[in-house]
Symmetry: none
Subunit: 196 residues, 4 copies
DNA sequence: GATGAATGAGTATTCATTCAT
DNA sequence: GATGAATGAATACTCATTCAT
């Protein structure tokens, strides 16, 4: 049974096709061709077209979320945790353009199942940010008047939008290091010039 | 003119339907029913289904962008400009749930025409932010090491994500005033506790 | 709205196609072509392929059953009633070959819905026979040891099988009059030579 | 031979599945699962799905026909022959529900090959009846005005319909003995009360 | 202008059949 | 012989779009 190998091959192919055409414009035959299998073979591994999308979200994004969460758990210093979070998130998005595109586009779908997924696994990811902020506030590193519930969304939104440029642009853009540094500078110190 | 009235009625209905079902799951007959016209009537005002979406983006979002830009142009103080931008943006998104939903979801579409629109009108909107930052930097209000090209995206991303909560949530969330204040505090002063 | 006309046209065409190919081998496009409408048009009048079959059974057979029942209700003499029943049944079956074929073939389907129909409307038809027999027994016309519940089935089965020949055969067969006479003779007098 | 055993196992399983779901709704995998073999194994014993159906008709029904024909051949008295025919036919149908169901349903198929089979083997079976009647007429046991060509069909149709009840019903029905007796009484003596 | 019945291109999915192991 | 993963042809059904009224 070479099942797992083919399962992953289809998932990668689907990610590629979804990234290029979007879920609704993607054809099962496109994915099959990309994965070099017959159309029917796809249905040996997935229940239907939508199941493929959900699997991409669950499995592929799931892996990323897990990785990032793990690398943060080792740290205790909020500053370091936040830095790692930004670095890892942006690095992953820059690395895997197809997956980044799918996250940017398909995760927004108004479909009930997609929303369900978003509300389950994804919020968990965003909450990592608020936990870091809370810990930082307890340690008097972060300002107490910052509300973690709002800040976590602002922070994630910023990362998400910033990384979208990589997925959609073709030419050269800001580098990973530069972007990481700027985001951290922005959120940690703000834009205001410190008055003497 | 009766025509314009119907044109707008269809556009509003389409926005509502797109918000609820998403573009691909929306049926022309859904929009027709919502607008209380016959299916065929829609084709007297729009070329095709996609044209309706583009029109929603162009006209409805266009109006908003124009309004916000106008109210900012009157100001010269970067701090006030930024404050107005945040207030207006969030207020509009909270006011018009349907449109907010369409912006959140459909503006991400991988479709070529949608991307084209985004690259044209939308970037113009985002650039309002970078212009404000640049002006602030010239006036020594904002830090010079902040790169407006990255900051504008981070800023917009934050606003976008923060406002998404209103579109998708059913229960009570953070208020408009609270959110506006927090976003400004975050981006202007950063999260770091100012050491004495 | 020329709805009813087209509805019937599709129903007749479907009956013809079902008769020729059987339900499962019939293609929607076959029916559409036969009815000279587009494939999609069929779905304006029927929910799905199966609904067409059920409609043929319900509407077309329904009409026949109704007709036969009416012409019997006018009579009170069991002998005349039975004669009319046999005549009408066989005449109808000989007249409309396509419908006869569909009744013979598709009414046997193991499908749940078909069974449901059979159990509802069809039994009602068969029970006409047992009622006639009962009345005849009360009037001392028919033998009391005949059980109407079995006899009604034997009677119907005989008619059904006898009429199948017309639907399936291409050459000449027994005439309507001949067959009617024989069936009546058989069931009324039996095959046994009356001993003096 | 192990092969023959498996051949029969598949045939029995197919009969069961066909009886339950009907030929078109039956899946090869259903039959394979029922027979506890792999899907591919079936194709070592049969050419295709349709071949299985034909084989069920040919082999399974063939055996029954042969048995009944044999038990009749021993007799010379038309009355006894007819009695045996009815007894055996009904007994077999009541005994083997699955096969009875397949005969009732699938033998009606409009498929060319099925029709061919019916026209070949099956008519031979029905003709047993007409031969008995003819013999009875020669011996002055049966009335001369009965046309064996029509009567054989009426007779078979009656048996067929009467036995269908057993295949489809779940509750209690008329017993085998009762039904046999009634059918014979009906066809031999008719329904008419003998006037003194 | 407005209607909505009619159109027919387009596609996800099924499942009989094959064949490498 | 036996397996069951892989194949890909086949088709019911949908829905954007048209056009006669």
């Amino acid at each position: 049974m070479k099942s797992l190998e083919k399962h992953n091959k289809i998932l990668t192919s689907a990610t590629k096709v979804f990234a290029k055409k979007g879920f609704f414009n993607a054809r099962i035959s496109d994915i099959a061709k990309e994965a070099k299998v017959a159309d029917g073979t796809i249905y040996l591994y997935f229940n239907n077209k939508f199941d493929i999308l959900i699997s991409v979200l669950e499995e592929e994004i799931g892996k990323i979320i897990e990785q990032i969460q793990k690398s943060i758990e080792k740290e205790t210093d909020p500053q370091k945790m936040l830095t790692i979070f930004v670095q890892k998130h942006l690095a992953t998005m820059k690395q895997n353009r197809n997956l980044a595109e799918v996250i940017h586009i398909e995760l927004r779908q108004s479909d009930k199942l997609v929303k369900e997924y978003r509300n389950k696994t994804f919020k968990q990811y965003i909450n990592v940010i608020s936990h870091i902020i809370q810990r930082g506030q307890e340690q008097n590193v972060y300002r107490k008047d910052i509300k973690p519930g709002i800040a976590k969304r602002a922070f994630f939104g910023a990362l998400d939008e910033v990384s979208r440029v990589w997925a959609e642009s073709t030419g050269s853009t800001y580098s990973l290091e530069e972007t990481t540094e700027q985001i951290l500078a922005l959120f940690l110190n703000g834009m205001l010039e410190k008055k003497a």
